[in-house]
Symmetry: C2
Subunit: 554 residues, 2 copies
């Protein structure tokens, strides 16, 4: 492969929703676009976070010119501390002002204080080795979102990040359509576009339509109002504040990330509130119910979130009661439905009214629908298309939309994580697969070998564990103490003592058999004990708990 | 409480969706309506099934005149074997023909062959102690569904079971509206009605509308077609068969419960297929792709289901490929969304097309919507209403529908599991709460004390386990062998050997400290070891695995 080949290697975000990360290479130099994470699914037991496997960059750290972050959502920025800790704090990081403020706050939490974070104005071109980097202003469910245009000798490629074409965004700054059109007119080489909502026909509703609907809902409420939304959706919080002001209610912010994001948003001017409107959580009890809006985290039913705690009557500051109204200004992310439903039903049990997006249009997605994806394709008129940010279904449907606006099928590249698209003067094609996948963050450890641990955890979680300790004589292998049997997570009751006796008996029998057969090697002994016990336990309990035999020689 | 009080005690199904079971008492005699189960949620680790806690019936087994089952779905019939095994096989069980056939098959699996199962025709009155029992034919997503009318000296109460008012059911037998109207005209004392879809406005679509839509979808397909649906929805399977016949395709049934239910359905005449249309799974390869419809289990993305295995290219008989179409003729039950989405995306990855209810109206709910619930209320004009089968939200909304048709709020009783409604000549009121709740089935054991085991499993699943075995001298408590350290589910890698050495060191240090302080009691020693080790492990790994110290004296 010649160095004047442009290589676009997605390390995350294809064939999945989340952990977006893309390596762009030209003349042996690298720009990384986004460093996102995913949240673990229920079967990833005990795992805290899921990162893209960025091993590919480990030996190439010196070749990285820059990391560019499109916006401040976790699935685009969340892996940044982990990436920088491994690859070095000397890699410059670019992004919009809010995005960099959120990155700073995140890096501070990880005690990474040496990193050079650079606010870049949209439209300004930055040189980074063989690349020119330009951010293009877009609209999304967090302010200051940007697409990234990377220009090399070969042409310009555009990574859209997450976007919608909101014609009436809350901050009055629609996406920079004219710059996109210019890129198209100049001839765009490659479009890597958001696929999240390609399966929804039409256009996403405008964010600014949500505020008036919230105000309508608020005006019908008599008790307290709790609004829950994504803390990073700063425009939404602004609209909650506006609606609260309009109906003469104060606003209290509950939940750590809500307070943190609002603080950042206020300091950068994205959130403006009338003097005295926002009150402290400690002041909640000073105001009558009908004068309060509580803006809270927990829209996804997260176990430790403020709203979930309120629903379980376990929140230190907010006690909900009959007559209060809880407004879900968000939809559940797939996989969170049950947790959200449970929270909602707990609230009904307390006697609250609950308003969701099924009852009123109080949420707007941050991702453009099919017609917006088509508009993007028509604006930038790319030579090649590589759908980003989507599972297999959405990547395929994005390709269908491209074909619908006249882009030939052979110019659409349906990629997977780890498969680089290689473009040179002769054309574009997929190259050889590179390492990619998931890396788990589990406590202080980051690693991909948690597989065995995970398998063990699944086994432990399903059926529990038996530990059996047999103490034998170093001289003749005979048992010198009664075997110890301990179990955890095994649900038997009445017959426990009896069963434990039988297990001890099984152990003694196995040891005798071993002595007869002159099995003295500890490993073999343990294997024998394991097999005998596992079989006995299965016959008695019809479960397969983990059986852990320990043989001690004295 | 006088014996001429009618007591309606729900043991399950209120404040939840699932495990429906209701005890009806009059003159110290009992009829039980439904014995359902729930499937465990992800946090009920290793639990197989969830039953209602029916302890209340244990001392009252001799008072039970009959168990009546409304229909053959697991949430109404699934606990029957467990209930009968504990309360005695001599309790007569009543229900419709199909329901009893399904009960028989279920009891056979549990080797309960003594139970007297009695098919009861709709409209026939059966005497059971102080009760007259009458089944009323209803429509639902399984044939032969019935409401149960229980008449005593006090009047008649109606438990609807699950129902919709399907005007064009597949078997041509709409709900017996005229009998319901008669009950209303005679004056119904109490209605216990299904609340599942009270939150959906309007009327549920008819089941028979699904067939023509399936045929339309089939007629556009070129490769193989896989249709997945609930195996118990025998009318749906009939419609799949009809649509397949119309487009000239054979039908293969895949999945144990699909074959079982179709066999029962065919033997009772609910499923009729042209000669030779249904082929054996082994014959699949004998037919070209465009001549096949595969009717499969797995519509909920269940881990071991046939469809999930096909999606993972792991099914022994069916290998899917590009050009095949998978039709989801079902919607995900809340909580199953992620599993369904994953299955769908796997299918897209293989290259299949996937048709869901978002793409075409190929599913109809079996539960009536708000207008149907109002129709029921208007037909039977009950003196009292107790909403059944719903979480807190739906029970409240059912009450609102009752008020909307003119039933005063004080005649609507919003119950919870375990709270009996007591009705006598003076009126109706809630009595004192009885024991109720969940009982877990876990392997061979059934019990409510799995709580500790569950808590342990959660701990084990989150962070794994360390087992430490210290062997000490009976004489002086000194360590006589190097401590053994074993771990499972703890995800550390490179530093494992080093850490194990340090842990052994910690154990030795603890033992020395114990010797100095003359702690010789094994329990105290183990406690000391536990605390020292747990602290050490947390400091090093920032996780809290279970720490299990075993001290062996020799």
């Amino acid at each position: 492969m010649s160095p004047s080949t442009l290589r676009v290697l997605p390390l995350g975000g294809l064939g999945e929703i989340g952990k977006n990360m893309t390596v762009v290479e030209y003349e042996d130099r690298i720009v990384v676009v986004d460093t996102g994470l995913r949240f673990p699914t229920a079967d990833m037991m005990g795992i805290d976070l899921v990162l893209p496997d960025f091993s590919y960059l480990r030996e190439r750290a010196d070749d990285i010119e820059a990391i560019v972050i499109t916006h401040g959502h976790e699935d685009h920025i969340g892996a940044l501390p982990f990436v920088l800790r491994e690859l070095g704090q000397d890699i410059p990081v670019f992004g919009s002002r809010l995005t960099m403020a959120m990155a700073r706050s995140k890096l501070d939490e990880h005690k990474l204080r040496e990193v050079e974070l650079e606010d870049v104005e949209a439209g300004v071109r930055i040189e980074a080795g063989p690349f020119d980097i330009e951010l293009v202003h877009m609209t999304h469910s967090i302010p200051d979102s940007r697409a990234v245009a990377l220009t090399t000798d070969l042409g310009t490629m555009l990574v859209t990040g997450d976007y919608k074409f909101d014609q009436t965004p809350v901050d009055g700054r629609p996406a920079d359509i004219s710059r996109l059109a210019e890129l198209g007119k100049d001839g765009l080489l490659l479009l890597c576009g958001d696929s999240t909502n390609v399966d929804r026909p039409g256009w996403a509703p405008s964010e600014s339509g949500v505020g008036p609907r919230l105000e309508e809902v608020f005006s019908r409420c008599e008790g307290r109002i709790v609004v829950t939304s994504f803390a990073s959706n700063i425009h939404r919080v602004q609209q909650v504040i506006g609606a609260a002001a309009a109906v003469g209610r104060k606003v209290a912010l509950i939940g750590r990330s809500m307070r943190k994001n609002v603080n950042i948003g206020r300091s950068l001017g994205h959130i403006v509130a009338p003097e005295g409107l926002i009150i402290n959580a400690r002041e909640i009890e000073d105001f009558p119910d009908h004068k309060l809006v509580i803006c809270s985290t927990g829209s996804q039913g997260e176990p430790l979130s403020a709203l979930r705690r309120m629903a379980h009557r376990d929140h230190p500051q907010v006690e909900l009661h009959s007559g209060d109204t809880v407004v879900f200004s968000a939809t559940p992310i797939p996989g969170n439905e049950r947790a959200v439903n449970e929270t909602v039903d707990r609230l009904f049990q307390i006697g609250c009214d609950v308003i969701t997006t099924r009852d009123a249009p109080i949420h707007a997605s941050g991702h453009g629908y099919a017609e917006e994806v088509k508009l993007m394709l028509n604006l930038v008129r790319p030579q090649y298309v590589m759908p980003f940010h989507g599972d297999y279904k959405r990547i395929r449907m994005h390709g269908q939309l491209a074909e619908a606006v006249g882009i030939e099928a052979q110019r659409v590249f349906r990629g997977v994580n780890g498969l680089p698209l290689e473009i040179d003067k002769r054309g574009a094609r997929f190259g050889d697969k590179e390492q990619s996948g998931m890396v788990f963050v589990d406590g202080v450890d980051i690693g991909d070998v948690a597989d065995v641990a995970l398998r063990d955890r699944r086994m432990l979680s399903a059926d529990g564990i038996f530990v059996v300790v047999a103490t034998i004589s170093e001289q003749d292998g005979s048992s010198v103490a009664e075997p110890e049997v301990i179990f955890r997570g095994v649900p038997f009751r009445d017959q426990a003592d009896e069963l434990l006796d039988e297990i001890r008996g099984t152990v003694e029998a196995s040891l005798e058999r071993a002595a007869e057969e002159e099995i003295r090697e500890i490993d073999l002994l343990q294997e024998l004990l394991h097999d005998d016990l596992a079989q006995f336990v299965y016959e008695r309990l019809k479960r397969r708990p983990m059986v852990l035999p320990v043989v001690v020689e004295v």
